[in-house]
Amino acid sequence: MQPKMIAYDPLTGEIRGVCLTPPQVMAWQAQGLAATDGPEEAGLDTHRVVGGQAVAKAVVELTPDKSEITADGEDQAVVAVTVLGEEPPDSLEVGVGSQSESVALVGGVGALSPISAVTPCTVLVAVADSITYRCEPVSITAVEDVQL
């Protein structure tokens, strides 16, 4: 595979850009970014840089038991959290709307506190640390409680 140049934030390891030709490196360095070689598959969403090496982000799966709830303050959805790979952490910060919760993990598996709603709305659930983890956010939609 053809390696490519990766620009990353030296403080966080976040990949900020990739390119196949070296001239871009000077421009990156002028912006305070560091540059390194990386595998062809390295990308902003899939990799990060640790110790100067591009490594794949740990994959996190968010699995809600249901994506639609009734906005009655009673109905609720539970989002299961699974960190794939070896040596998963003991906990993971998961964002719920504009707030977050530290989810305890056992063997990489845990669950967010149940989500309920009192008005129709859609709340997004996503991993707070998107630099270290790769995760597809999920949304829980609360629909009007219609009683005929």
């Binding site: 609720q76 309920s116 709603a117 008005t119 709305c121 709340v123 609360a142 009007e144």
Partner: protein
């Protein structure tokens, strides 16, 4: 910036704004979410008013919140 990436950026901003507007609280180890701009929340707020002056003040707060969201 291409029109598709501009559209994605606008969509992401819209989503972030909608999420920031939501009110979240933790009750009995459960997240309770509400949208203060929803008709249900507006009605519930107005029902709290005991008199016209209080209702007028609540209406002003609701419109201020709606206009800033």
């Amino acid at each position: 910036m291409s029109s598709s990436s501009a559209s994605l950026t606008a969509q992401a901003l819209q989503t972030a704004k909608a999420q920031a507007r939501l009110a979240l609280s933790k009750e009995k180890n459960r997240w309770v979410v509400s949208d203060p701009a929803s008709p249900q929340a507006v009605c519930a707020t107005l029902e709290e008013a005991d008199n016209w002056q209080q209702g007028k003040k609540l209406l002003q707060e609701i419109f201020t919140r709606l206009l800033s969201s």
